[in-house]
């Protein structure tokens, strides 16, 4: 089960205050980077939910994000729906698609699961690439951002939009934690550790996988809706498998199965990418080397390394404080 250790709380507080601080101090470019990080963070949380806690390493999440973006834009511009309604419908569509993909792939494991999700993702990419209705490889122009003027918020302002994304990221994080703590999430972790035993216990394994994949798909769809509003333009590139691959890199870089780690990974990846692309056009080379180094080091990403290094110490500290308190209380009681 997913637990919040003191270290995880500390990391969350640092990340959150860092985001708020950046939102109120950064210029235009910094705000764009912050928003990019926040949207990527939603996507990688969705991926960590299935890969880190269910062992379902998906290469379809980029496509699910792209599907959300396309459904949102098409429903809002061609269907004439209100953007908020269109977004809700788009998220419902990606949730349904995610559920179906999860149900179909539930029997596959390991490399076969990766390939099956890859196939579905690339199917979506090819579909949108070739349909003139969706603009083909030219993509589509988005309908603009949500109109939140009734509560006095103008999302066309970069800072408001960044804070809006931050709020939604917080919501997604809470949903992920709630999912993992529910019976569904515990069943999922059980399936990851021993699928046969869970089946023997009477669990319908494919339903568990499909349900969590559906929730994860909804999150990826939300990331797509936000991405479409952020850059106001979508193209089939969003669905390409390399987007999913990069999301997977971010999850691993941060720390698989920790939820907090992928958030750190998203910050590290986007900042590294922007800083390096200033210096050299070969930033992929450096990202590749960093990735190889991180995986070869056998630590569970950046956050996994921090947890292994400092986790026990902070736990001991908290514990000693607690026992001291308990001792005091015992003295008082006596």
């Amino acid at each position: 089960m997913f637990r919040h250790t003191p270290l995880r709380y500390a990391a969350l507080i640092v990340l959150f205050s860092g985001a708020v601080f950046t939102a109120f101090t950064a210029g235009y470019f910094g705000m764009e980077i912050l928003t990019e990080i926040l949207i990527l963070a939603i996507l990688v949380l969705a991926l960590d939910l299935v890969a880190g806690f269910g062992g379902m390493v998906s290469l379809a999440h980029g496509a699910l994000m792209g599907l959300g973006a396309y459904a949102f834009v098409a429903l809002a511009t061609k269907g004439g729906l209100d953007p908020v309604v269109a977004a809700a419908a788009a998220i419902a569509i990606t949730a349904g698609t995610g559920w179906i993909i999860g149900a179909i792939c539930a029997r596959s494991h390991g490399i076969y699961f990766i390939m099956a999700t890859l196939a579905f993702g690339q199917m979506g990419y090819s579909y949108f690439f070739e349909r003139p209705f969706f603009g083909g490889d030219d993509g589509m122009v988005g309908p603009g951002r949500f109109d939140l003027s009734f509560i006095g918020v103008d999302l066309n302002d970069g800072r408001s939009f960044a804070l809006f994304c931050l709020a939604l990221l917080g919501l997604v994080y809470l949903i992920a934690v709630a999912t993992l703590r529910s019976g569904l999430g515990r069943s999922l972790t059980g399936v990851m550790h021993n699928e046969k035993r869970m089946r023997a216990l009477g669990l319908t394994v494919w339903r568990v996988k499909a349900d969590v994949f559906g929730i994860s798909g909804a999150m990826a769809g939300l990331a797509g809706v936000l991405a479409a509003q952020h850059i106001m333009f979508i193209s089939p590139k969003m669905l390409h498998w390399t987007v999913s691959g990069e999301a997977l890199v971010v999850v691993i870089l941060g720390g698989l199965g920790t939820l907090v780690g992928p958030l750190i990974g998203a910050v590290a990846f986007v900042v590294l990418k922007h800083e390096l692309s200033h210096v050299t056009t070969y930033w992929h080379l450096i990202v590749g080397l960093v990735l190889i180094a991180v995986v070869m080091s056998r630590a569970n990403g950046i956050f996994g390394f921090i947890e292994a290094r400092f986790g026990p110490r902070t736990d001991r500290m908290i514990q000693s404080i607690q026992t001291r308190d308990d001792a005091k209380e015992a003295v008082k009681d006596a």
Binding site: V57, I104, C105, R107, S108, H109, G110, I111, Y112, I114, M115, A116, L118, A119, F120, Q122, M123, S126, Y127, F129, E130, W241, T242, G245, L248, V249, I252, L256, Y282, H284, L285, V287, G288, L289, V290, L291, I292, V295, M296, R298
Partner: protein
């Protein structure tokens, strides 16, 4: 158009040519996976490297020298990768292997951009194969026929080696149960090394023969990776039969889909892959039952 015999001949040959190119790539990948349980996503990058080596060598020493030397060069790179990275990743899970080789794709991609630049290179087909051959009333490029013949020859050679020689028996034993094969006195680690190098050389060969056909670009390895993975997953991992069956299925579905059902062609092959995985989750002809 579809009632014309020439059309069918032409498209069948096109499909065969694509299949054979994919076969050269997928056989290395699938046997490496079957034997070592190692997922090498950088296989496509080795193919691109083969094409670059061929383009460089062909410009000075001619095509035939390039066709021989490029695979050897790629095998040397493969040896270096094996010694530096892959032998250390053998014991870790498939996830870590996928990621390390994914990182390797980035590295090799940018290294080839640094050495050869972003622009596409082109190499000419050799003079002996630049003409057309008349097949049942249809003129067909001789070079493409050469690729088909090469693929068939490699397939025949590998089938013979795997089924009739001692090293073939050792490889089959290793794929079937590597721990037991080691107990029987087979040096499995050395076997891994040999198979890995041969697989890399075949990827380099595929790159070298593809170079005159396609333009040589840094992205070509990434483009071919997905079709190669589809081939080995449809065929089933680890077996020669699976690799050739998967290659033929991919080649024919892709080629005929593109001319007969242009609207859905690109989706067709992914739908087929999904269907295969749904019905037979481990592919059509897996090495292990």
């Amino acid at each position: 158009m579809t009632h014309d015999l020439g059309f069918w001949t032409l498209q069948t040959l096109n499909a065969l040519q694509l299949s054979m190119l994919l076969f050269l790539l997928s056989i290395g990948l699938t046997v490496i996976f079957g034997l070592m349980h190692f997922v090498n996503l950088a296989h496509g990058a080795l193919y691109a490297l083969g094409a670059y080596f061929a383009a460089t060598i062909a410009s000075t020493a001619g095509f035939w020298v390039a066709l021989l030397v490029a695979p050897l060069g790629v095998a040397v790179v493969g040896m270096a990768l094996y010694g530096g990275l892959i032998s250390r990743m053998r014991k870790s899970g498939p996830m870590a292997q996928v990621l390390v080789t994914f990182g390797l794709i980035f590295v090799l991609l940018d290294l080839s951009r640094i050495f050869w630049g972003d622009l596409a290179l082109a190499i000419n087909t050799p003079a002996a194969l630049s003409g057309r051959v008349d097949i049942m009333g249809t003129g067909y490029p001789a070079y493409r026929l050469f690729i088909i013949a090469l693929g068939v020859a490699i397939f025949a050679a590998l089938a013979l080696i795997l089924s009739r020689t001692q090293i073939g028996a050792m490889i089959r034993a290793g794929v079937d149960n590597d721990a037991m094969a080691a107990c029987m006195g087979i040096n499995v680690e050395r076997l891994f090394f040999i198979v890995f190098c041969v697989g890399c050389a075949l990827a380099g060969l595929a790159g070298a023969v593809a170079a005159p056909l396609l333009s040589v670009t840094p992205g070509m390895g990434l483009e071919i990776l997905i079709p190669t993975l589809i081939v080995i997953v449809i065929g089933g991992l680890g077996s020669l039969k699976g690799a050739i069956a998967g290659s033929l299925i991919y080649g024919f579905v892709q080629t005929f889909g593109a001319v007969l059902l242009p609207g859905v062609a690109s989706i067709l092959i992914y739908a087929l892959l999904a269907a295969v995985l749904l019905l037979k989750p481990v592919g059509l002809f897996p090495a292990k039952g």
